[in-house]
């Protein structure tokens, strides 16, 4: 039993849902009780999908447990098949169903449906989401392709003269970090060097597409967490080599192109010489990161203390970029993905630091606090930790939030991805000159308002009472302020992982005149009774300023000299929200 406040990964059946929902023509029957449908909203809200996930839940109840839950599975499989007519069906169970041991996969196999059925056994009490995604993808691909497997030892046919090289892109899924945009970016990059993408899977592929995957010359594993197992099986069974370098960052993208060049037998020198490092030219190359990093305004980035945490793929890439491409000091690195602990430990060792392998949010928080970092590169969890500690943060990895699925093209991979990363990571930091001003004139009352730079608006506006000036206000003060716990309790962030927040509301001015001074300056404003002022405070801060103004406007219109609780609500009824 493990005490947990937040989890980085969901259970393994959510990984299976990511595969099913990423694909076309696949349906997943999940033996699960009421409540497990919560996972649908990860896709419809965080990803803003316009379709429901292709998942049927059996919804068994306590009263079914003594009876025939197995029949419920069969009925669900049958009606899902009839309604959705999928090309292939995944059948599995969530944590509770695992305990009642109905073997839904075997039950479905015995029903004689005319489509491939993939039984999933994903142990919910020992494994997690990414593992579940990887296993599901592997079993689906294996089920679909095993009938075509050549006899062991059959040599693989070489690419015919004159045909362009073909690859499959493996690993992108929904709820992965910017996977959709990475696919577009890498497809375009490969096209430039004469390599066509044959199938991209799971994202966008159907079972019929998967069946054609061996027609490609090789595979590219974009996200090892999801696709490495499958790629290894394809290598073993069909003799398809696969590209292992993940093209995140300028250096890694160059390495990736070289590896593709070798495996595909294509010439990548023209693109590598255009996208040069060192003397990169703004007009010639698409990759601006090398030049921006060398631009003199970036010197303030030098040696910033950075902590990197997330899934293994993004952490390994981010650490390399931080160190080699932005000139930061990586002071901490870690992952929640135990399956890749060794790779992350090796990377840490190469940088002379210790890796944190943990899915305990509290441990990550403590590490960040202890390391006194200046920039956190992490998941949505680390964004919260960083906010608590008053440290700038950029999100680099799943688990994601609705804001990590931007409308614009915003890849992480390839040369454009590196440009996006430069902008995203540098944005939360204070600009060089502003940092100097803060150090010189730290008693300026406007600097006392918070720790964020002036181009970022503060998240939790101050209350009407002016705050006592803080001693430590600049971001380079690495010791977390001692009043943090009180502060964050008082100013909870508006709920918003899936968009409940209403941050568009007007915020209260940071400093308000006292009532006496206010009435002297603006004689028309009525006095607030103490009880009305207390009532006003109960209104959420993001609409409070508007409520105050509307009430004062109403009082003025009615010729009132005092504002009572009733006036507040009269005004509300008058003006609406």
């Amino acid at each position: 039993m493990q005490l947990t406040l937040w989890t980085y990964e969901g259970p393994p059946h959510v990984g299976a849902m990511r595969i099913a929902t990423s694909m076309e023509g696949v349906h997943y029957v999940l033996h699960a009780p009421q409540g497990d449908t919560y996972a649908d909203l990860l896709f419809t809200m965080i990803e803003r999908r316009d379709k429901r996930p292709p998942v049927t839940y059996t919804t068994f109840q306590a009263r079914d447990l003594g009876g025939d839950t197995a029949e419920l599975v069969k009925a669900s499989v049958r009606s899902a098949y009839e309604r959705f007519k999928p090309q292939a069906m995944l059948v599995g169970e969530s944590c509770t169903a695992e305990l009642i041991q109905d073997q839904p996969g075997s039950l479905a196999m015995s029903m004689g449906l005319p489509i491939p059925i993939v039984p999933l056994e994903l142990p919910a009490y020992s494994k997690k989401e990414n593992w579940g995604a990887s296993e599901t993808f592997y079993h689906l691909v294996r089920t679909l392709l095993l009938p075509q497997a050549p006899a062991p030892g059959t040599p693989r046919a070489t690419r015919p003269e004159g045909r362009r090289a073909r690859c499959n892109l493996l690993g992108p899924t929904l709820l992965g970090f910017r996977n959709r945009d990475d696919v577009r970016e890498i497809t375009q990059l490969l096209a430039e060097i004469g390599v066509d993408v044959h199938v991209c899977a799971p994202l966008g592929a159907s079972p019929n597409d998967v069946k054609t995957m061996p027609e490609a010359d090789f595979n590219i594993v974009l996200y090892p967490e999801v696709a490495e197992t499958t790629a290894r099986w394809l290598q073993k069974t069909f003799g398809m080599p696969f590209v292992k370098t993940v093209p995140i960052g300028v250096g890694a993208t160059r390495d990736f192109l070289r590896e593709v060049g070798t495996i595909a037998g294509v010439d990548v020198e023209p693109i590598l010489s255009r996208e040069r490092v060192g003397d990169a030219q703004v007009s010639a190359s698409r990759s601006l990161l090398p030049w921006y990093s060398r631009s003199v305004d970036a010197t303030y980035l030098t040696g910033k203390r950075v902590f990197v945490f997330g899934d293994a793929t993004h952490v390994l890439a981010a650490a390399r970029i931080a160190k080699d491409e932005l000139g930061f000091n990586v002071v901490g690195i870690g992952t929640y993905a135990r399956e890749y602990a060794r790779d992350v430990r090796d990377a840490a060792k190469a940088m002379g630091i210790e890796a944190l392998i943990s899915d305990d949010y509290l441990e990550v928080e403590k590490t960040i606090g202890d390391l006194a970092v200046e920039l956190v590169l992490g998941t949505q969890m680390e964004r919260h930790i960083a906010k608590r500690l008053g440290v700038p943060c950029a999100v680099i990895s799943s688990p994601i939030h609705v804001q990590d699925v931007p409308a614009r093209h915003s890849p992480q991979m390839g040369f454009e991805g590196a440009n996006v990363i430069f902008d995203t990571w540098v944005h939360p930091l204070m600009m060089g000159l502003e940092e100097h001003l803060l150090q010189m004139f730290r008693e300026d009352f406007e600097f006392g308002d918070g720790k964020l730079s002036s181009h970022l608006h503060s998240v939790a506006p101050r209350e009407t009472t002016p705050q006592t000036p803080r001693e430590t206000t600049r971001v380079t003060d690495v010791v977390p302020p001692s009043d943090v716990s009180g502060d964050h309790q008082a100013n909870p962030e508006p709920a918003g992982a899936v968009g409940l927040a209403e941050e568009e509301g007007e915020v209260e001015p940071a400093l308000r005149l006292t009532p006496a001074a206010g009435s002297a300056a603006m004689p028309a404003i009525a006095q607030w009774q103490a009880s009305a002022e207390v009532e006003l405070k109960k209104i959420p801060f993001f609409v409070r300023g508007k409520a105050r103004r509307n009430t004062e406007k109403y009082a003025a219109a009615m010729g009132l000299s005092e504002i009572s609780v009733d006036t507040l609500y009269e005004a509300k009824a008058q003006y609406g929200k």
Partner: protein, 440 residues
Amino acid sequence: MTVAMPAVIGDGPNMGCVDAASGARTTLPVIRERGQHEVFCGLTGIVWLHRKMQDAFFMVVGSRTCAHLVQSAAGVMIFAEPRFGTAILGERDLAGLADANDELDRCVKQLLERRPDVKTLFLVGSCPSEVIKLDLQRAAERLNETFFPRVRILNYSGSGIETTFTQGEDLCLKSMVPHCPDGARDVAAPELLVVGTIADVVEDQFTRLFAQMGIAPVRFFPPRHARDLPPVGPGTRLLLAQPFVSETARALMARGATLLSAPYPFGAEGTTAWLAAAAAAFDVPAELFRRVIAAPAERARKALDRYRPQLAGKRLFMFPDSQLEIPLARFLHRELGMELVEVGTPYLDRLMVSAELPLLPESVQLTEGQDVERQLDRCRAAQPDLTVCGLGLANPLEADGLRTKWSIELVFSPVHGFDQAGDLAELFARPLERAARLLV
């Protein structure tokens, strides 16, 4: 079981025009469905309960799924360390129950050391803890021997095999009932207890209105601090603020309390009738009652007038979610003129909605339970102007060209009482208003 007379006082306020007694119909046709339920389980109530009771912590004893659900369900990525967590069961816990109990004790100890401010700890049962028969009742008793009186340990089930969405709150409140002190002993000196979570600001509004009517003392359940439990006895009069607290109401009635039957305080009419039920039970003179509610009720009507043109005549389809569907359908139909196509509810508890059902029009189709695919077929066929549904369905229905209102917001926003009537109407008007604005 003592149930008070229908709440509305004949010679009292006629503003609400509610007359449950004259509603000849007590049974509307109901479709009962059994299939995929696209509704949360009872664990989800933790999302608001942990904010309502500031000295309480909710520890789910369950799987990674439970932990993932509570953090994802309402999108509560809250900046502060949450006052809820999950003791996640691992393979070792499944292997032997003795170990599971030791492990549970260890997790509780770890938590209480970290959070010395916690005064009440709820151990919340889940589907897996129910299926492996981990006895949280006994665990709570055992842990109380160590931690009480510094911390009181209670338990309830939020499991999806036994509870639906808002039933979690009901069972949570019910678990506190045995610990309410004896009080309100005098039947002739009644005390009012309002049951069901409502926003703090709304509690304050109701408290003022009751005080002006001379109704005192008034207490709210759940209280803002879990250790601040209200006394209960034969003098207790229960006024329900939420339609999902039936088990709690029954437990309080078993301790002598009397239930006041009333519609729920949504809209001008509902709030008037709800307050009138209390006024009748406390012998408030009709004239005084009228005087106290005149101004706020008028404000509520004025606020509703603003939204009626947008909502009147619009056709409404409600998927089952929070149990608020029937009272809200009544409000939207009677006070804003919406046409009811289908009103779904996870379960129909006639005791809880006895004063609501007679106010629904004959034409409404009630459904209990769910088969989500068939309900979606009916919804698409009906092409309603507005569909109230959960977050899993909302965007897909929008993409099909239907306008939707996500139902969880109705549980999360201050919507009760006179001064929120306009806000409540606005929540339904906003999707229509938005659709009318957008040109892309």
